[in-house]
Symmetry: D2
Subunit: 390 residues, 4 copies
């Protein structure tokens, strides 16, 4: 008999922003339920959080190790089906490893791990165990991002020449980490966050989006990272010149001191025949600029006639008719839904469709960590170009 | 012990657009679960729909009467707590009445009923039974609509003089109802839809938004309704001059033949000191235009300092930080969440807060039906002004 | 031998806003020179203004009668070729009449006269004298307005059903006329301005734009005019339901108390197959919304390939390549340039091209005055509909 | 007695785009007249062009040398006052030198010369002769650019940290220079254009804008230039990492293969307290994004109250009231007007005001050429950083 997929959660207790986002994304489509969790390193917070989330007390665990061990002992259909990991970066690898090895699928926040080595190790484990790992590169779940990717792949713009991708934020313009902001505190701490702040937290989203839409791969970078706010240990701003395979070039900017910006992810891609533009803060518009014809705005949810018909990847990730804006939570939910559809298909012995398989995986995670590593290395070098090596 | 609120559903089977929207809105925050339903007049569709929604077979009912009777016999905590009605307009009144009288709270799609008389009758029943009825005027759930309302109420714009509210759509530019579109078919059928198409389906949203934000009440109207598409029985376009209390005036437009428009709800309000503008297709921006100072854009999710601090009604209805767009589904979910919080508070013997009570009720439904009646009457009259009477 | 056209001017002395605009528009293309003027009722202001404009003292006149008489005595090639009238409304008719009868062509600000009777009389004089009269309906000179008109005429949108045209301003939100603002003072004075403030000053632009683009003619109106600011003698806001020939309907709004608005002229037109949208504050974009295909943005100055090629009327009125914004002054200059080209062609015995003849004339002026009359009459009537009669 | 300034012109004959732009800019305000010219290397084209511009035959010269010699012999008040040079880059230095040495002021298109050496030599000549040289960096003439600069200078944004400036065009996405486009032909020819195409033609505008608004100076660059279109001799795209004095950093992009883009100049500047954004294609909006308060849109032509009052540099460069868009031609005309006001003031023995002196000069030209040189040098280097040296 059909049933909802059962989710366990590491992290995401009270006041943890991203845990709540994951739950909304998971719950929205009514196909996933939360059955257990280790919501905080503080057992009292974990217990209270779990109760507020309607998790029974005996499934609220003091720590993730215990949870994974105990859940593994429960019968199929009762135990969790997958584990969502929403802890700070330094606490991704270990629970992911344990869960995968115990037979659970995994959803994990980006960046996938604290280091490239951990990411590669996780990739090995995924391959060895045959489990499914989903990495929540949020912005890749939007319908118009899917449409952009499909149009590039179909050759609509000709050969791609140029990519400009940026992610400016302003929330770290001050020494926010000293003002009681827990998210700022761990992100700016190298031990919990990793080698880079701006590139690790948001640059990695930008890099993923660029490669996801174009299908190109970064091959060399030239980076200039900066710590603008005094007293901060990691970079809070960076600009990177990119060289992709096939002669394409690009610019990537990630900044957390762009005062006044919110989450202004934006990407522009130019090919021989035209260009496209997409922005997170206006996500239902895909601006298409072709040579010789008026600018076009493809909009989420429309039933365009051929040859404008939206890609099946766009429509598969759309819930409501055109003109009713879908936002970040729906984009996030698309990643969960596709993960859930894939996991369910596999459980039923079916082959997932390409649309179902369309979510970021451990391979994206490894590239993300390699991106961080390469950019940091380039920043420390006087040579103009640093090879992107995985 | 805390538990999720239990929802039953009338309508919303396979291919019914709005039922799916209600479920997403209800599920998103993890506080409501679907426990039973009569999802279709076709029992087979109902059964299959219920199973796909993980409802156990014994809670999938052949019709709403049976459902309400049977559920009422179940013990509290097992039976549904409230009934969501997502059938065509002509099927709102009866299930709402039965549910209320059987002790259930109710969520119902707009327009609340088929006629003003039914709406008034429902209002009597709500008063008599003391139950809670929630009307899903979707656009009123957006954070920036809440902010607009709070700013008007605080006198930010001075006395309000002028309101321009519009809801253009283009999906009925052709005889869509003959092209196999079920939603178009019943909406264009007076028996199932009521006296008006454009005004009943979307004009009523525009009227609600105008009154909701300004706190003003329409007192007289002058309407010109049109059926542009040949072969259609009801108006597919209309424009209405409005006179509010306190000397304010307005224009309301609702159109379903504005070819190329999607759901371009927009409202502009002007007072003595400044004006505001808000649009559904760009819902996280509230444009504030004051005399003598630069235009301001208030955006969802910001922690502005005083005197710009966002209203508690705006922040209460926001889930994620600024720059991560929230869309129609979140607006819809806000209505469900506030309804759920109110119902839960009442169950626990607490007084709901003003923020929790902030959802449209039967009173809004009665005004909506009176609006439709008045506009249709005005359209048939040669006199310029027709009194708005409830 | 070729020479510049010679312009005389009535009004437009120091501090007169619109006179300066006319001069910029006239001078921009290097085909018109100012040779004489009666720039103010105050002879000292007139003299000083003329000198600042490099007009020789003997061509600076104390009043327009003297100017017209004296100029008429000068030889062709020395005397002015045409007279620009930029005085308040009540001072349009007389100088226009005298100039036309003395053999001069005329450019006059809108509204053309103080009353419909004067306008009709002027039309008779134009017909009788065979002179050219140009009325500066500024917004009709924009390239994208021309493009809109051409696309409607070519049937791109199918039969037109709906027109929404609006002109909100906020500058009269207070009793500006008592604050030393000369333009506000005469506009709000019925003796100098005419029967209506908002409709006469800006509503007439909106009405012209609607008819200019669609080619439709208003046949009936239902108006509600308001004076919101206490102490003001004329309407400062109005909304009008429109009925055009051929079954089209519309809404026209003109307001000078829409606090915070600048000159937000906007028009939307919907036909059977699609719609268009154009706005003065973003004038180089023509938004085209067709059924079933992505939204298109036609932009000034592009060399689109067929079938998107811009109309010859659009390109004829464009000066610089795409992406270099052209603004109101260029739109205004287009009217002057087309007038000058027409006058020059006539002088050379040639037939002006349709592109050269594309500027508002006395016929537009008569319709404008009839619009004002009809709207004021409708406002005073309890009947819903008032016939538009010229 | 007051008179118009008298302009001579080198280049700008039939079909020369930029010459016509200069004339519109010069004529618009009625303070400059064209009295002579050598409009083309082809004497017949020169003659015909001059006649069409109403220049008498005896002031239409076969070449600029002759013109400068002959004009210098005419009496003051009859001879030209200044020379405008609108030839391709390789023909800037010589006529500028001759004109300055003959006692004429000069307006010259950017880039100022073919090489840095020429630019420095011109700077010496300007200093030696005491003449005025104006360089037409068009985008610096917009009111909202002036406002941005004034706000930065006043410390509104705190210390500046980050500058992102870009100028994407798409018109050279194909081998346009082989398609009969004269402008493309000389721009892509190193002999006539100089060391760089994209950086010399438009990158130099971006660099000027960045320095003009921030008051910062570029100190080091890291450039990656590309020739995307096969068969082209010079770069058609480039991205540059910037380091300014005072710790500020930046990114500059200039591209002529960004297919579908028109002239999308855009600059974003971030300081400790907030940021600003301005774009050429929407030039009357200055978006101000301060920490903790709603986003603000400063708009051209408004009479804001303190502390929002627009800078005198913004209002001085504005012609019409708010909401009436001013465009590129007005921005261009501002440069001419300020140049003319400065030249006139000097002629009258007065000290020009700071507002009158606000136009780009030979010093900007030298920095522009140094920018091109430095970027080309950096592109050829494997070292990450190349010093910006004048």
């Amino acid at each position: 008999m059909k049933r909802k997929l059962r989710m366990g959660m590491v992290g995401g207790g009270h006041d943890a922003f991203i845990g709540a986002v994951h739950r909304i994304a998971a719950f929205m489509d009514g196909k996933i339920e939360l059955v257990c969790g280790a919501f905080s390193v503080n057992p009292e917070v974990s217990l209270q959080s779990g109760r507020d989330l309607f998790v029974p007390d005996d499934r609220i665990y003091p720590d993730y190790k215990t949870m994974i061990e105990k859940e593994a002992l429960l019968p199929e259909g009762e135990r969790m089906d997958f584990l969502t990991i929403v802890t700070p970066n330094f606490l991704h690898y270990e629970p992911a490893k344990l869960a995968l090895e115990a037979g659970f699928d995994v959803v994990v926040e980006k960046p996938i791990t604290l280091s490239l080595e951990e990411a590669k190790s996780l990739q090995d484990i995924v391959e060895r165990t045959g489990r499914t790992l989903c990495l929540t590169h949020t912005y890749s779940g939007y319908p118009m991002v899917k449409q952009a990717r499909a149009m590039v792949a179909a050759g609509h713009f000709g050969k791609i020449r140029k990519v400009v991708v940026e992610y400016p934020q302003g929330w770290l313009s001050r020494l926010t980490e000293r003002e009681g902001n827990a998210g700022a505190a761990w992100r700016t701490d190298p031990k919990r966050s990793g080698k880079s702040l701006a590139m690790g937290d948001i640059g990695v989203h930008a890099a993923h989006l660029a490669e996801h839409i174009t299908g190109l791969r970064i091959q060399e970078v030239c980076a200039d990272l900066t710590t603008f706010v005094e007293g901060r240990a990691l970079d809070d701003d960076g600009a990177v010149l990119l060289r992709f395979n096939d002669g394409a070039k690009g610019v990537l900017m990630a900044s957390q001191i762009s005062a006044g910006e919110e989450n202004a992810v934006r990407i522009r891609i130019y090919g021989e025949k035209g260009g496209l533009e997409w922005a997170n803060e206006d996500p239902n518009n895909l601006i298409v600029k072709m040579l010789d014809i008026p600018r076009q705005i493809y909009r989420t949810g429309n039933n365009y006639a051929a040859p404008y018909t939206l890609s099946s990847f766009a429509t598969h990730n759309t819930r409501i008719p055109a003109g009713h804006p879908e936002g970040l939570l729906e984009s996030f939910a698309n990643i969960y839904r596709n993960f859930a559809l894939t996991v369910s298909a596999k459980r039923e012995g079916k082959t997932p469709t390409p649309e179902q398989l369309d979510f970021p995986t451990v391979a994206d995670g490894v590239r993300g960590m390699a991106f961080i590593d390469t950019v940091v290395k380039s920043n420390e070098s006087n040579e103009k170009w640093t090879k992107f090596e995985v």
